[in-house]
Structures are given as structure tokens and as C-alpha cells.
Symmetry: C2
Subunit: 173 residues, 2 copies
């Protein structure tokens, strides 16, 4: 799937869920394949509504069975790492964070990068459910076959500082 097709699918997914973007926002829909070139397996689509020195709000779209690769948000200078609240709006998401590993996880770890998924404490998020990920904590997440929309409320985003477990990943949209 090319960038343009991914943008259109993202806009369609949001529209079907009743979420409206302006024309300008439609142009700004970000397609993140993390430099892995297998977007449908490992990737994320997002639109940033607001990102200022205090808070940030985005809508994240996951295509069916798509995985956002494991990463964390480290402290930057004297500033704590980014803290994220994920609120599931549509579909279903399996979120994995540091902590007691869940015995039998529901997600399927992407085959090509199996070694780079290392935290397995599972949080299932259905519409209306949310979870807050503390700063500097490894996490990854996967949509089920229905795909998903997740509202992200957080402290300031500085994506270029994110640390991914997979050393091949380059976070340049």
C-alpha cells in the first residue's frame, strides 16, 4: 500500500467512525512505516490535532492486525519522557507494557521482528476503555482484524527522541 492509499484509508476509517478532519488535516495525515517498508504489518497512521509545550492530542489509526512497534519515550534533558493516555474509540487494541508478562497473549508478534518485542503485560482496550503509559516505559500495540482508532492524550510529543527496540527503525515520517 502506498502513502496516498494509506492516507485515504485512514481518512475513510475516521470518517466512518464519525470523526471529522479539516481539509488541511487530511493533507497532514502522517503515515509512519518506521523505515521498515512493511506498513500493513508494522506501522501507524496518525493525525496530530495539537502539540504544544504542555500537552498533545492525536488520533491514531491502526489498520486490521497492524502493529505499532515497541518503543519508549525517554527523558529529554530535565524534562520527563512523554506520558501517553490511550483511549480506544473504535475497534479493539491489545496494548503491551512493562510488567508481569501475560501468560498467553492475544496479539500475534510480527514475524520479521519477533526479537524486538520484549514486553508482554497485556491490556485489552475496547471502545471507551483507556490506559495511561508512564514516561520511559516500553510499549507496543496491535489492532485486531477490525482495525482500531485510538485517541492519544499526552504531554508534548518529540517523536525524534523515541527509542525503538528494533535497531533498524528510523522514526522519520
Amino acid at each position: 500500500m502506498d502513502r496516498k492509499a494509506a492516507q485515504l484509508q485512514t481518512i475513510e476509517t475516521l470518517t466512518k467512525a464519525g470523526l471529522v478532519l479539516t481539509e488541511d488535516e487530511m493533507q497532514r495525515v502522517e503515515i509512519a512505516d518506521f523505515g521498515l517498508d512493511r506498513l500493513e504489518q508494522e506501522g501507524l497512521q496518525l493525525i496530530t490535532y495539537e502539540n504544544n509545550s504542555h500537552y498533545c492530542a492525536k488520533e491514531l489509526v491502526l489498520f486490521p492486525n497492524q502493529t505499532c512497534p515497541e518503543h519508549k519515550h525517554p527523558p529529554i534533558g530535565k524534562t520527563e519522557g512523554k506520558q501517553e493516555t490511550f483511549r480506544c474509540r473504535a475497534g479493539k487494541v491489545y496494548l503491551y507494557v512493562e510488567g508481569e508478562p501475560t501468560e498467553s497473549i492475544q496479539a500475534t508478534i510480527p514475524r520479521e521482528s519477533e526479537a524486538y518485542y520484549t514486553v508482554f503485560h497485556e491490556v485489552e482496550l475496547n471502545p471507551g476503555q483507556q490506559y495511561t503509559i508512564p514516561p520511559n516505559t516500553l510499549h507496543w500495540f496491535q489492532a485486531t482484524e477490525q482495525g482500531a482508532i485510538v485517541s492519544e492524550f499526552s504531554t508534548t510529543s518529540r517523536d525524534e527522541y523515541d527509542i525503538f527496540t528494533n535497531p533498524d527503525i528510523k522514526r522519520t515520517p
Copy 2:
């Protein structure tokens, strides 16, 4: 309209727009009549998804033609006042902030409290449109006859410090 009816109408409004609340959140839907006892004219319904020491996310629901009275969020000690980003999700909102008064405003100022509306720089928000209100800036807003849903992204909420222009207002939900 009593509190229970207002809660039900709020939940119905959100549900119709495809926004899902958990059972617990439905119980927590806040009905703010600001102590004026004329909710349908001056009031606000809201659900707080997250409010921590860094950021806050809420859904605001306005019934048809309902007005949220003029107020501002002052600094608290060394902390700047609350900064709010309003994103219209459904319906239409007229927002008024400090600045050059708009010549002929589209909202109808609530008759009983006309003297307590003093800023008239108009911002019209349709679905997908948003506006960020700086700290310590007077603002008020009104839905059109369709009502409205507004996502609020902001710094920490401390409602008890809000300053309303109308001295009769008590912000105790």
C-alpha cells in the same frame, strides 16, 4: 430538566455521535448548572477522561442553544492558568474570547445574565475545527439549535479556581 435527565441526554448525544463511554464514566457525567438553576440556558455537561498534573482531556456536551457562561482560568501560584484547546466534534459552537469584538455576533446572549457577557471576539467552530484559548483569557461559548460536542484538550483542570464574570456563579457540580 433534572440531573438524571440531563445525564441521559448527554449520554445519548455522545452515543449518537459514535463516542463510547464506559459504565463508570456514564455514572460520572458531570452536570454543571453553575448554581444558576437554569441549566438549559446556562450550563454544561462533561465527562473527564483524564486529568493529571500535566494534561487533561474531556468531552463537553452542549444542549441546543445552551451557553457555557463567561469565565477565565487564572494562574495558581507559580503555575500558569489552564490553557484549553476546543475541538468541535459535532454540531456547531460559537466561541467568544477577548480581542476585537465581532460586529454582529451570531450567538444570543442569555437574557437573565446579559451584563455578565463582556467579550465578543467570535470564533465559529464546525466539526473538525478547533481553537486554543490562552491561559487567563475570558471566554464563553454557545451551541446552535443542533447542540454540540466539543473535545477539550488542556493543561491540568482545577475547576474550583475558575473565575466567572457573573458573581452569582458557584462552580460546584
